[in-house]
């Protein structure tokens, strides 16, 4: 009997990797601790070298002047018309592409999961989304130039078949809306990928339960579905915002340096073309970190509300 208990206890500990009783914990060999830390060490070293140190270095450099002394001059240098305008355009483009991407992505994901489309479609779309959400940078810029550029396929078809000149109507790919349209190509798939599991979490029974007292579909979504999806939606929205805010390769390949947005300004600083003040470059980076951090702090605050229902 006693032997059986010991075996069961040992099996439990091995299976779960936990020590259930305090007596065994006291006899835990000390040697294993260092082995455990050795396993985590590569990750910690990697994170310190390639995440923490570069960030801290830039934050520190934002407060150090050319003479090596502590100064607020770099931060004050951000408040010029050009840099403030760059931040404002960046925030607007990121906000527009994040909001549109989140709404369209939600609509597509809902159509895909709740719209009773053919069953094989879902995995195909998910795979495609995985690819498309990484399809950024120069290839994406090229794809949109060959689609809606001045000699693009859609532009030419609209002009020759429908007699509608896209560019005379005021559209320009190298503008606010052009860049937003391009960003949507990776924002929508990212939204679909992230929101799909949350939509799966909406149980069919909730819809049936709402229908029994006579709720319409609209009432179900207004009072049950969307309030439950809301925190995931906002969390993904802030992620999409940060995603667009830091996107450089797409914007640079598309517009060169003609559009004045913060990543391009920072890129020019890296290349050494402009500004010529490393402190100001670090201050630019600090501003970007602050903005994306503010956008992402929303999520943990709201997620607690969603988890009540997801349990």
């Amino acid at each position: 009997m006693c032997h059986d208990l010991v075996v069961r206890q040992a099996h439990h500990e091995v299976y779960w990797g936990t020590l259930m009783t305090d007596t065994t914990a006291a006899h835990r060999p000390h040697r294993r601790l260092s082995f455990e830390w050795l396993g985590v060490a590569p990750f910690i070293i990697f994170a310190v070298m390639f995440l923490i140190l570069p960030t801290l270095y830039l934050i520190g450099a934002a407060f150090i002047g050319r003479d090596g002394q502590f100064t607020f001059d770099n931060i004050a240098g951000l408040f010029t018309d050009q840099i403030l305008a760059a931040y404002w355009i960046s925030i607007r483009i990121s906000g527009a592409s994040a909001i549109l991407g989140a709404l369209i992505g939600l609509a597509v994901a809902l159509a895909l999961i709740r719209g009773r489309l053919p069953s094989g479609l879902r995995s195909a779309v998910m795979t495609f989304s995985g690819v498309a959400s990484n399809f950024a940078g120069v290839p994406l810029a090229f794809a949109f130039i060959s689609t809606t550029g001045r000699l693009g396929l859609v532009t030419i078809i609209l002009k020759t078949v429908f007699g509608f000149d896209l560019y005379k109507a005021g559209f320009n790919l190298l503008s606010f809306w052009g860049l937003t349209l391009t960003y949507l190509y990776f924002q929508i798939p990212l939204m679909i990928l992230i929101i799909a599991p949350a939509i799966d979490g909406l149980k069919k029974e909730w819809n049936e339960a709402a229908q029994i007292p006579g709720a319409s579909q609209w009432q179900f979504w207004r009072y049950v579905g969307l309030p439950i999806l809301w925190p995931s939606f906002l969390g993904t929205l802030s992620l999409l915002f940060a995603n667009a805010f830091g996107a450089i390769a797409t914007a640079y390949a598309l517009t060169g340096s003609s559009l004045n947005i913060v990543p391009i300004l920072l890129y020019a600083q890296i290349r050494g073309d402009a500004l010529q003040n490393p402190g100001l470059g670090a201050a630019l980076a600090l501003g970007m970190i602050l903005i994306t951090a503010c956008a992402n702090i929303i999520y943990p605050v709201i997620s607690a509300r969603a988890e009540r229902w997801m349990k």
């Binding site: 208990l5 065994t24 070298m49 060959s146 970007m288």
Partner: protein
């Protein structure tokens, strides 16, 4: 419900058009090397160019190296944090979520300032050093997706069963592995949760899903046991 289906199809078709047209247009553009007619000449000239082959090969090698480095860095950390060092978990998770908050261009700017040729670790000073830095720069943004927390399926069985993460006989909960961030739910991950084969075993031999244990079964299972 029929209108529901109609709207679903319409939304899906519009979305599909937005995603497919640029790809078609790129392909069409690639055939327009010769004036007046379509040809595959641009492909021929690209593939016969040794510089293209060299850069393409370099990209492939760096990509594969990034995958290997990412797995070597993340998998042991996931294993030990999950099973041996749970108190490190919040810290490690915060680190893996950092690339979502800090744009890649800022990290790159930090690398260039921190690891330039006159610094303590001059990565950018030599060609192999630059390769290492490039590989690691590709691993960093993938961290949130590689370190994905276990998804919580079958959460409703969890209430009273320690084997499925519910409270054990001392009323303590096994670690709860719900994601912190919606990105961790997504399919973009390298390290997925291992399949729970015990559950599958149950499904094969029984036609209905496992029920939460009855009070009587629980009282037998969690009866007072002598301290070891």
């Amino acid at each position: 419900m029929k209108t529901n289906r109609f709207w679903a199809r319409l939304v899906f078709l519009l979305g599909a058009a937005y995603f497919i047209v640029p790809l078609v247009a790129t392909f069409e553009f690639s055939l327009r090397m010769r004036r007046g007619y379509y040809s595959f000449d641009s492909y021929a000239s690209v593939f016969s160019d040794p510089r293209f082959r060299a850069t393409f090969g370099y990209s492939v090698i760096i990509g594969i190296l990034a995958i290997i480095v990412g797995i070597l860095v993340v998998v042991p950390a996931v294993y030990f944090v999950r099973l041996r060092l749970p108190r490190l978990r919040p810290f490690v998770e915060f680190l893996t979520l950092m690339p979502l908050i800090i744009p890649a261009i800022i990290l790159v700017y930090g690398y260039i300032r921190l690891y330039n040729s006159s610094s303590v670790i001059p990565f950018t000073g030599s060609a192999p050093g630059t390769d290492i830095l490039l590989t690691c720069a590709y691993v960093t943004p993938a961290l949130p997706y590689m370190y994905q927390r276990r998804r919580h399926r079958h959460a409703h069985h969890r209430r009273a069963d320690p084997d499925r993460g519910g409270p054990d006989r001392r009323g303590q909960h096994a670690p709860d592995h719900r994601p912190h961030h919606p990105a961790q739910y997504s399919g973009r991950c390298a390290v997925r949760r291992l399949p729970d084969l015990r559950h599958r075993h149950w499904r094969i031999h029984h036609s209905e899903p496992p029920q939460p244990p009855s009070l009587r079964a629980l009282s037998t299972k969690y009866r007072r046991q002598p301290r070891l």
